[in-house]
Symmetry: C5
Subunit: 351 residues, 5 copies
C-alpha cells in the first residue's frame, strides 16, 4: 500500500473524534518532559504521570510540555481532559500523516506539522503543537534531536528566547522544524546534481529508477510544504490573539524560510523533470550512434560481398574468370567502393 494512503484504511467507519492510534509504533516508551521558565526561573523535569503537568498550567510562566510517542492514546485523552482540548484535536494528534494545518479554538491554537528526515528515502514525522497563552504542548512520534537546539537555548538563556513568552516558544519550535527541511532538500539537491551529470553518460534502467525515486520524494516534499505556507500565513495575518504583535517579525522570518523551502522544492522539481528529458535524449543519442556503426559496416561490406559472390558463381562461361588481371581488378573495384562509401560517410559527418 502506498505510504500516502497508509493510515486511511483503518479510520473508515470509526466515530469522528475517536482517539485511536493508527500509525506504526515508532517509539516504545512514552516520555513527558516539562520545561517551565520565566526570564529568571528555569525548571526542567521528566514526569511519568501526566497529572503532574497540571501544576504548570498557569499564565505567568512559559510552559513547554513535550510528549514523545503518540501511541499511548490513554495519555493523550488524559491531557485532553486536563487542558480541555477538543476531541477532534486529540484524534488528529494520534493520527499521523495529517496534512499540515492550523486550527483556531480560541482558547488555544492547534498546529499540525510534518517534520521531514531521512537520507536514502524521505520520511516524515508528525509534530502537533497546542499553543495557548499559558502553555505549549508538543507531540512527537519518536525521539529526535530537532528540538534540542531550542532546549539548549532555553537552558543556557541563549538568544532572546528566555525573555519571551509562549508564542515565541511556539515560533522557535516551528522554526526548528522548517529549518530541518533544508537538510533534506540539500540531500535531494545533491542527488539531482549528481544525476544530471550521470544521466548524460549512463542512461540505464537503474538511472531511471533513481530519477523516479527523486521525483517521488519531491512530490512528497511538495505535499507537506505547500500547506505549511498557509499555516504560517494564518499566524502572520494576526488572526490569532495568542501570537502577540512583537512576535510578528519572527513569524515573517519564518514565512520567508517557508517560501524559500517551497521555492527550492519547485526548483528541484523543475530540474528533476528535466532529468527525464535529458535521459530520453541521451538514449536516443546512443541509439543513433549504434545505428551509425551498423550502417557504416553494413553499407561498406554488403556491396563488396555481393561482388565476391558474383565471381563465386559456377557458370561455365564467365570470360572474366580466366584473365590474369581480373582478380587484382576486382580488388581495385572493391577498394574503390569502400573508399567512396567512407567519403560519403565523412561528408554526412557520421565518422
Amino acid at each position: 500500500m502506498p505510504k500516502i494512503l497508509e493510515e486511511t484504511e483503518k479510520q473508515l467507519g470509526t466515530v469522528p473524534g475517536t482517539i485511536l492510534y493508527h500509525g506504526a509504533k515508532k517509539t516504545s516508551k512514552v516520555k513527558i518532559q516539562i520545561i517551565d521558565y520565566t526570564g529568571k526561573t528555569f525548571v526542567e523535569k521528566k514526569v511519568k504521570d501526566v497529572k503532574e503537568c497540571f501544576a504548570f498550567k498557569k499564565k505567568d510562566t512559559v510552559t513547554w510540555i513535550n510528549i514523545t510517542g503518540i501511541h499511548d492514546t490513554y495519555l493523550v485523552k488524559q491531557i485532553g481532559e486536563l487542558f480541555d482540548i477538543h476531541d477532534l484535536v486529540l484524534e488528529d494528534i494520534v493520527n499521523p500523516n495529517q496534512r499540515p494545518k492550523i486550527e483556531d479554538y480560541e482558547a488555544y491554537l492547534f498546529v499540525v506539522l510534518q517534520m521531514v528526515y531521512g537520507t536514502k528515502k524521505v520520511e516524515t514525522e508528525q509534530v502537533s503543537l497546542i499553543i495557548s497563552d499559558s502553555f505549549v504542548i508538543s507531540f512527537q512520534e519518536k525521539d529526535g534531536d530537532v528540538f534540542d537546539h531550542v532546549r539548549e537555548r532555553i537552558r543556557k538563556a541563549k538568544g532572546r528566547i528566555k525573555r519571551k513568552k509562549n508564542d515565541y516558544l511556539a515560533y522557535a519550535l516551528m522554526d526548528a522544524i522548517v529549518d530541518h527541511y533544508f537538510v533534506v532538500l540539500e540531500k535531494i539537491g545533491d542527488k539531482v546534481e549528481s544525476m544530471e551529470r550521470k544521466v548524460v553518460d549512463e542512461a540505464n534502467s537503474e538511472t531511471l529508477t533513481q530519477i523516479r525515486k527523486i521525483k517521488r520524494d519531491l512530490i512528497f516534499m511538495r505535499k507537506s510544504t505547500w500547506p505549511l505556507r498557509e499555516v504560517i500565513s494564518f499566524l502572520l495575518r494576526g488572526e490569532s490573539k495568542i501570537f502577540k504583535k512583537d512576535t510578528t517579525p519572527y513569524l515573517r522570518d519564518l514565512y520567508d524560510h517557508t517560501i524559500q523551502v517551497i521555492d527550492t522544492v519547485e526548483t528541484l522539481r523543475d530540474m528533476a523533470s528535466g532529468l527525464l528529458d535529458i535521459y530520453m535524449t541521451s538514449v536516443s543519442n546512443r541509439m543513433n550512434e549504434v545505428m551509425k556503426v551498423l550502417t557504416i559496416i553494413a553499407t561498406i561490406f554488403i556491396p563488396l560481398t555481393f561482388v565476391a559472390g558474383i565471381y563465386g558463381m559456377n557458370f561455365t562461361h564467365m570470360p572474366e574468370l580466366d584473365t590474369t588481371w581480373a582478380y587484382p581488378v576486382v580488388w581495385i573495384i572493391m577498394v574503390a567502393i569502400a573508399i567512396t562509401m567512407l567519403i560519403y560517410f565523412k561528408k554526412k559527418k557520421w565518422l
Copy 2:
C-alpha cells in the same frame, strides 16, 4: 457511449423540472427506512407508503429518511409534495451523474454527492441529501453499506451522534461518503505502485492499456472530488443557518478529509503521468538493447563473410589459393578482425 455522457441524451428537450428517471435501474425494490431519535428516544421503521414519513416531520426529533432506489419517480414526487421540495431539486435527485453541488433553498439545503466504489473499475453512485432543521432525507441509487456505520452508531448511541441534531446527522452521512473515497483511492494507489515496478520490466501493449485505465479512473475521481470541496467549503463558511456553530469543528474535519482526498488524487495523477514517461523510456531502452545485439553480430560477421567470399571466387589466377599457409592465415586475419571489433564494443560499453 462514454459514461460521462450517459445520461445527457435523454434529458434533451424535456421541460426543466420534469421528474423522469434516466439512469439504469440499479435496484428492483424501492426501500424507505425511517430512523427517528432524540438523545433518549429511538425509532427505526421500514415503511411502504411514503405518507407514513409525514408523521416524523417535526422539529424536536432527529429524523432520517433513507430512500434506496430513485427510479420510482412517483414516490419522489410524493416526497416532494409532502416536504415541499422544489421541482428542480426532484429532477436532480432522479438524474444520476450530477456534479456534486449544494443548493440553499432556505427552508432546506440540497446536497448532491457522488459515492465511489468498485475494485476493477471505478464506479459512482449518486447520493442526494435534503437537510432541514427537522429532517434529513437521503436518496441512494441502490443498497449499500456506506451508511451502515452511521446507523450502527445511532442504534448503539455510540459517539456523540445521538446527542446531536439533524445537522450533525447530515455531517455524519457526508463524512461516511468522503471516507469511502479513501478505500477506492487506496486500490488505485496499489495499482499505480505495482505498475511502477512492472513498467520497467514489461512494457507491452497490455501494460499500456492498464496505464490508460488508471488514468481514466483518476480523471473520473478528479471530476467528482473537486466540486466536493466547494460543497463542504460552502457549509464551512457558515452560509446556511441549518448548520449550527457547534458543528463547525466537524465540518472543518470533513473539509480536511476532502482536501486530503483531492491531494491524493492529484498525487496519483502525477504518478500516473510519470508511468507513461517511464514506459516510453523503458521501450526505448529495450529497443536500444535489441539494436546493440544486432549491431554486434552484424558488424562482426559481415566483414568476415566478405573475406570468406573473396576466397570463394573462382578466378583462375588467384595466387593465394595455392599456398599451403594461406588458409590458416585467413583464419588468423578473421579472428583478429573479430577481436578488434569486440574490443571496440567493450570500449563503447556495448558489452
Copy 3:
C-alpha cells in the same frame, strides 16, 4: 483561411457600429415569427413586414420574436429602430463568430450564444437574444429545430413556461442551446472512445489525422463554452433587473449544465491528449517488434552464412574439406549455433 478568422478580415476599416453582414448566407428567406402569450392567451403569427412586430411591444404579455436569417441587414436595422437597440448590438447580431457574451444596456440585455451542431465536423451558429421586460427577440443564422421544443411547450402550455414571464422564456431558449451541446459532445465522446481502442492496434497516419480533428473540434468547443459560463454567471449574480428572483433556481440549473458541458469538454481534451501519447507508444512498440524479428533472423543466419562461406573458399589446402565426417560436423555446429541463439533470445524474452 481558418474558420476562427473567417469573418475578421472584412470588418477591418469599417466604421464601428456599421451593420454589414459578413457571414455566408446560410438561409435564403428571412422569416419573422411572433409568439405572444400570457397564462391564458396565445397568438402565433408569421409576419413579413417587421413593423407588425411593433404591435406586440407591450409589457403585459410575453412576446417572442424569432428572426431566422441575419443577412438582411435592412431588416435588422428596422428592428433596431423599432425597439431602440444600440448600433453596436446590431453590428454584433449580423456578425457571426462572435464570442459568447452578455451586455447590459439597462433597457434590455444583449446575449450572444454559439449553438453547436454537426456530426462529422463541429460547426457553430450564432444565436443572439435581446431580452427586455416586454419582449425577447432571437436571431438565428438559419432554420433549426433547437427551439422547437420550447415552441411546443408554449403551444401546449406544457410545464410552467406559459405561467412565467419574458425572463423565463429567455432562460428556456438559452437552456435549449446549452442542452444541445451535449448532443455534440456525446458524438465527440464516442469518437474518442473508439479511437482509444483503435490507436493501440492501428497506428497509421490516418489515425493521426483523426486525432488531430478531434483535438481541433475540442479546441473549438472550448472556445465557445468558457465564455458561456461567464454569461450565465452574470445573470445568476442578479446584476440585471430583467431577470426576476423566482427565475434564479432555473438559472442555477442552467449554470450547472454549463459547468457540466465545460467539465466534459475538459475531460475529453484530457483523453484526446492521452490519445497521442498512446499513439506514440504504440508506434514505438511496433517498431520494437519489427526490430526484434530482424535481429533474431539476422543474428541467427549471419553467423551461419559465415560458416558456409568459410567452406566455400577455394583454397587448395583445406584439410577439413576432404574428410568424410566434415560436412555433418559443420551441420551440427550450425544447428548448435542456432539453438544457442534461440535460447539467448528466449532468456531475453524476445520470443
Copy 4:
C-alpha cells in the same frame, strides 16, 4: 542579439527620464499632421514647426496631432514642454519595444500600444497616444496606413466620429490598431493550417524550421496582446475621467475584440504546439515503415542466402550435390521459406 532585448542595452546607466532615441531610424523625415474638427468645422494641416501645434490646444474642438518618426528627440522634447508632459512619458515615447501600457497622469492619459504588421515575419511598431480632454497626440515610428481609415472617416464625416469628442477619437485610433492584429493573425493562421497538412507528408528539417518560426511569432504576438487587455480593461473600468460614459459601449466592443485577438493567439499556440507532436509522430511513422521494408527484405533473403551458401561449400563428401533432383528440391525449399515469411508478414500486417 534577439529582438526582445534589442533596445535595452543602450538604456543602461542613463538618467531615468532621459529622452534619447534608441531604435533604428525607420523613417527619414519627421512629419507632423494636425486634424482639428468639431461637428461642423474641419481643419487638416501639415506643419513643420511643432510650435504651430500650440494653437490647436483648446478645449472646444477635437484635435489630433499625429507625429510620424520618433527619432527626432528634440521635437519630442518641444512637444513635452508645449503640452506639459512628464519626462518619463517622453522617454517611453522615444523608446520603442515598450510593453503595451496605460498610465494616468490626471491631466492626460498615456497609452503605449504595439502595432503588428509583416507577412513573412511578424514585426511591431510602437504607437504612443497622449489623450487629454482637448487633444490627442499620436506618435508613430514610421508612415503607415493603419490610421488612414480613421482619417477618411473624419474627412468625409462618415459614421459618428465627427459628432464625438477626443475620447472617441482615441478609441477609434486604438480600434484601428487592434483590428490590424487580425490581419497578421490570419496570415499566421493560414500558415498553421497549411503546415498541418504538410507535416503529415513531409517531415524534414525545413518543416521543423517553419514550425519554430510560427511558434516564435506567436510568442511575440502573445507578449504584445496580453498587456493590451489590461490597457483596455483599465479604460473600461472608468478609472479615467477623460473617457466619458457614452464611449463605454465602444470601449466594451474594443475589449471584446482584444479578447478575441488573445483567444485566437492562444488557439493558434495550441495548434502550433500540436504541430510538433504530429511532426514527431510522422517521423516515427516513417521510420517504422523504413524498418519494415528492411526487415521484410532481410528476413526473406538472409535465410535463403544461407541455404545457397550451404551448397556452395566445397566438401568432397556432400552426397546431396550429386543427385539430380537436389537442385530443384533446394529451389522448392527456398520458395517455401519465402512464402512462409510473406504469410507471417501478412499476418503481422506489415504488408
Copy 5:
C-alpha cells in the same frame, strides 16, 4: 552542493537573529563610503570607523552610506546599534542568497535584492538597502560598478537626482540593479538564439549540456525576478510613508522594467523549452536518414547476393550453369532487380 542550498546548512540551529556571516568572503577589505548631499551641498567621504557615519544621520540632507563587504559582522552589528536596526534585518543582511523581499519596520524599509552578473554562468550578489527618511544604507557583497552611474549623477548633479530626497536615491539604486538584469538576459538571449540554429545541425551530447545550462540559468533568473515584482509593487501601492507621492511615476517606471525583465525571462524559458523539442526531433530526423541509407543499400544488395549465391552452389546437375547466355542473363536480372528497387525508393521519396 547545489548553489540554491549553499547557505542553508550553516544556519540550522542558530538562534534567530544571530548575525553570523555564512557566505564566501567575496572581498577582503570592508569599505564604507558616505555620500551626503542636498540640492546645493555635496560631501563624499571614505571612513574607516563606522561611528563616523552617525554624524550624517540627520533629516535635512540625503545621506547614502554604501558598505562593501558583509563578512565583517561586528561592523554590521555596530551599524545596527547606531541606526537602531532590528536584529532579524541584520541577520538577513549578512546571509547572502536571500529571496528578494521588502519589510516595513515603520522607521525604515528593509529591501533585499539580488544583483545578477556573469557571462559564462549567471551569478548573484545580494544587495540590501535600509531606506529611511534621513538616510539610505546599501550593503554589497563585493566591489562593483553597478552603482557607479548613480554616484556619477550625484557628483555631476546630472538629472534630477540631486534635487530629490532619500526615496529617489533608493529608487535610483534599485533601478540600477534592475537595469543590470537586461545585460545578463541579453547574453542568455544570444546563447538561446545561437543554440536554435546550432541544434538543427549538430545535435550531440555537448549541445545537450549547453541547453541544460541555459535552462538552469533561467530557472535561476526566474527565482530572483518574480519576488522582485512583489517588492516594487509593494512600494508602488504606496504602503510605505517613506516613499513620497512624487516618486510614484519613477516607481511605476521601475515596475514596468521589472515586468519586462520577467516577461523576457519567461519568453526565454519558452524558447529554451522549445530547444529540447527541436533537439529531439533533429536526432530523430537524423536517425531516420541513417536508417534509410542502411535500408537502401541492404535491400538492393541482399537479394542480389542471394542470386549470386544460387549460382555459387556446387550441384552437379544445374543445367543453367552450362549455357553460354546464362551469365549475362543473370547480370540482366540483377540489374533489373536493382533498378526496380531504386524506382520503389524514388516513389517512397527515400532518395
